[in-house]
């Protein structure tokens, strides 16, 4: 069954169903080998072409990225936020009594609808200040977030929506 699905998907979109995935596979392979030999490049190309074809049944849609500048800006912002998040959580662990932490569940309504965008948002939420994304509602319209220390849940929802979701919307939708 999966063989047939793969074959027909390949028929429809030729031998390069996911150029982005192929490019990143080649890049990751070269980084893993830590070299730019011709042999490694060829093997990387074989993997980069083969794996997307082989798994194309699992990727019904092609991912479209609207603006690479926005991707770069988002990445830089998130890396900065991760550093701040580390310092923030470290401070909470060191200087706050555990009983004084206001841990809380928050439900964040989502405007994003593409699975890739929601995945990136959930990952970002986990990596940034005091929040871990825990579950998605059955219809994919709410994200369940656990906060380590949340005096004001409204503000956390607002921040996730304006700081991350709005920018992801620009990138993916």
């Amino acid at each position: 069954m999966s063989d047939r699905a793969t074959a027909s998907a390949a028929d429809k979109r030729g031998w390069l169903p996911h150029p982005l995935l192929s490019a990143s596979l080649v890049l990751v392979w070269l980084l893993l080998q830590n070299s730019l030999d011709l042999g490694n490049l060829l093997l990387g190309l074989v993997l980069g072409l083969g794996i997307p074809l082989w798994t194309s049944g699992l990727w019904p849609k092609r991912l479209r990225v609207k603006s690479w500048v926005a991707v770069l800006r988002y990445s830089v912002m998130v890396i900065g936020d991760i550093v701040l998040a580390n310092i923030d959580v470290a401070r909470l662990i060191l200087f706050r009594r555990a009983s004084e932490l206001r841990t809380r569940w928050v439900s964040v309504p989502l405007e994003l609808s593409s699975p890739e965008a929601i995945t990136v948002l959930a990952g970002t939420v986990t990596m940034t200040p005091g929040t871990v994304s825990c579950d998605l509602s059955a219809d994919g319209r709410y994200l369940l977030v656990h906060c380590l220390d949340a005096p004001d849940t409204e503000q956390i929802v607002r921040e996730i929506k304006t700081r991350y979701e709005a920018r992801l919307k620009e990138i993916f939708e």
Binding site: L31, P60, T103, S137, A138, D139, L144
Partner: protein, 150 residues
């Protein structure tokens, strides 16, 4: 010049070590699983990040060859840490949390851990394609049906 790099590498290693230690201390100190989950997902990323940056700088400055494995390690870490945390949280919610009394209730359908995706006929599609706007969802559904080999 060498001294500058040595100091930089040392500082990065110390930063990494301190954050890893704090992350581990958090695991001991925090009272319950959900808050403990915060310690390894965050404090540790900077811990490992510091060590990796130190390693890259060391090889670039003293062995004069550029090592890019470290970039890959941090990339894999960024990809896997949230997924691991997500699965741990889901397992915890499933076994120990009462969805009615302890969790906020989303409008419409319940949380994915307790409820099957509401479009049972297309289990994956319910999560993947359903937009807030029913017309858009319908359109996405049709698009997908047209393209899917099934």
């Amino acid at each position: 010049m060498n001294l500058v790099f040595e100091i930089l590498v040392a500082v990065l290693i110390i930063i990494g070590g301190v954050f890893t230690l704090i992350g581990s201390w958090g695991m001991v100190k925090l009272p319950e699983l959900m808050s403990r989950l915060h310690a390894p997902t965050k404090a540790t990323t900077l811990g490992v990040g510091g060590a990796l940056l130190a390693s890259m700088l060391y090889f670039a400055a003293f062995k004069s060859h550029l090592s890019l494995h470290e970039l890959l390690i941090s990339m894999f870490l960024f990809l896997t840490a949230p997924i691991t945390a997500h699965f741990l949280a889901k397992a915890h919610i499933h076994r120990h949390v009462d969805p009615v009394r302890e969790l906020p209730r989303p409008d419409g359908h319940g949380w994915g851990t307790f409820e099957a995706p509401h479009d049972a006929a297309a289990e994956m599609k319910a999560v993947m394609d359903d937009g807030p706007d029913p017309a858009a969802a319908e359109k996405a559904h049709n698009d997908d049906a047209g393209r899917s080999p099934r």
